[in-house]
Amino acid sequence: MSAENAWGRRYLMCPPTHFEVLYEINPWMHREVPVDPERAREQWEALVGLLRQAGAEVEVLEPQPDLPDLVFTANAGVVNGPQFVPARFRNPERHGETAHDVAWFAERGWRVDELPEGVAHEGAGDSLPFADVLVSGYRWRSDARSHAPLSAITGVPVRSVELTDHRFYHLDLTFCPLDDRHAITVPAVWDRYGTAVIDDLVPEPLVLELDEASQFVANSVVVGRNVVMPACPPRVGRVLEKWGFEVAVADVGEFLKAGGGCRCLTLALDVDLSGGGARS
């Protein structure tokens, strides 16, 4: 019998008031494909509704003009109990987000511990807890050399995985911890060393094909036994159902235009890695 994730019942989200594709920093972004602000708002609110329905709390980060990607709160940083490690964004287009993220956490009593200057790390987008380690992606947005200081600051062992396909620029497009035994994985876009590490770590992976991964299937939010997904191919749905999960699909098509799905729009606030990653 598997145990639910001990985290994932409280999220930080940012409404898409100023969301649009202003620049292109991943292969999904095309400035000529405009975002429909109305649809984006409806989709975002529907996602909030599904998460609340699944039993999660949602807290809100104030949107800011000229920071369209602030909606992707997953990249704000790494939360570890009372500690918040803010991201160091690779692209200058997103540098402006950090001050707002830090202010939000600091005002609410989180201790802010920063990564050293000069290394890039994009928060929970590239770091997800599984078992008692932090699985961290690197290459496109986060540096491999951010992993040692991240581990030193949080006190949590890090398992590094190289992301080999530019379309899957963040770990959370390729990996989704479901519970203490299961995770959605996309080894096709990992290097063979990272694949071996995850093979060793996850007893029962749900391995996605590349076409499934391209629908952002791994970019899902898990709330206990509920999984809120941008898309759910029938094969994936059957496996999740067999494992006892209930699936809800949230249409986040407007956000996919910027290369982000359900997970990218959320940052779990209740992650505490000091006492192990799962509750029984």
């Binding site: 380690v133 690197y138 290459r139 540096d143 491999a144 050399r145 992993h147 040692a148 581990s151 030193a152 006190g155 949590v156 062992p157 890090v158 398992r159 590094s160 995985v161 190289e162 290097d191 060393y193 990272g194 071996a196 590490v197």
Partner: protein
Amino acid sequence: MPAELVEVEGHIIDSLILAKILDLIVGAGADYHMVDVRIGRTNTDPSKVRLEVRADDEGDLVALLEELQVHGANLVGELDAVLEPCTDDGVLPAGFYATTNLPTWVRLGGRWYPVENPEMDCALVVTTVPAPVVRTVPMHRVIAGERVVTGREGVRVDAPERPHGATPFEFMASEVSSEKPKSLLVAEVAGRLRANRQRGRRLLVVCGPAVIHTGAGPDLARLVRAGWVDVLFAGNGFAAHDLEANVLGTSLGVSVDAGTPTEGGHSNHLRVINEIRRWGSIEAAVRGGYVTDGVMYECVQRGVPFVLGGSVRDDGPLPDVRTDVVAAVDEMRQHVAGVGVALMLASTLHAVATGNILPAGVETYCVDINQAVVTKLADRGSRQALGIVTDVGLFVRDLAARLDPS
């Protein structure tokens, strides 16, 4: 070979990052050496590994380092070497870097430069015009104003490696062989000398007087005549007894042919030295027909350079002997370039002196009946020396028979 130090830390064992980095290095045709390895005790402890990465050329190394950096291996902030000018001729700055005889590299302006002439117990002098050049220079030869490397920063020494595998002596597990089949060893040395010659490298022979006493003079002369010897170092004694043997048929008064003492023989070498002094030089004595055979004769005839270094107990000495020992070693230094093999034949002091000025890469075979001589050479820093404990007369005879069967 260009090289850089990189460091990688974190949970690099469990994340297979270290394995990946090592695979990348090897896959790129480069090489690595683990300088420092600290493995975390528990799975929450981070590990830290420092690697020296080497590639065939600077461009390959830079490309590889960029790739390694992606996987978290950072260039260790290596600094350039610190240079200080000499304030007086023959006096080094107090903190001068003292060399080994191993291949050595010096970092200047972010690039590594090889030391051109590795020699132990010297200083490193850097000249930068027209391009950076690093040379070893013995203390007494530095000139005021020359810039010398001080401290250890920016200096790298290749780890000493004894010859292994099939070369040069697969079966010589120990450094000194007193209990090995000698004819096999001689055959191996002969093979190494042939290979050395094929590579266009020179053979240096260092001789003690026992070579003549044991009757190996004619065999060594034969090797010189056949063109095997490219340079010869010895002292007054070796040359004097070689000349004595060929002029009067004795070595230190003992008949070389009969092995019996000759009447008044104790002064034979003095008389020969005296006559050579009258000629003015060994070459003049050879050209004048006073000396007609022997090792020194063949050296003169074939134009093989020789350096005779003097000592305080020398008789005479011969006019060719350099009695200023510092000048003698300087002259020896001029002849070591291009030497691939050094054969030390029954010589202690000259073998050690020669070992001091040879780079570690020169294959050195030390033949002596006394095991202590071989050990002494190794103890003085010539770690590359392989010892063959045997009678030098038998060794040279066997070697000559193999190299010059005519």
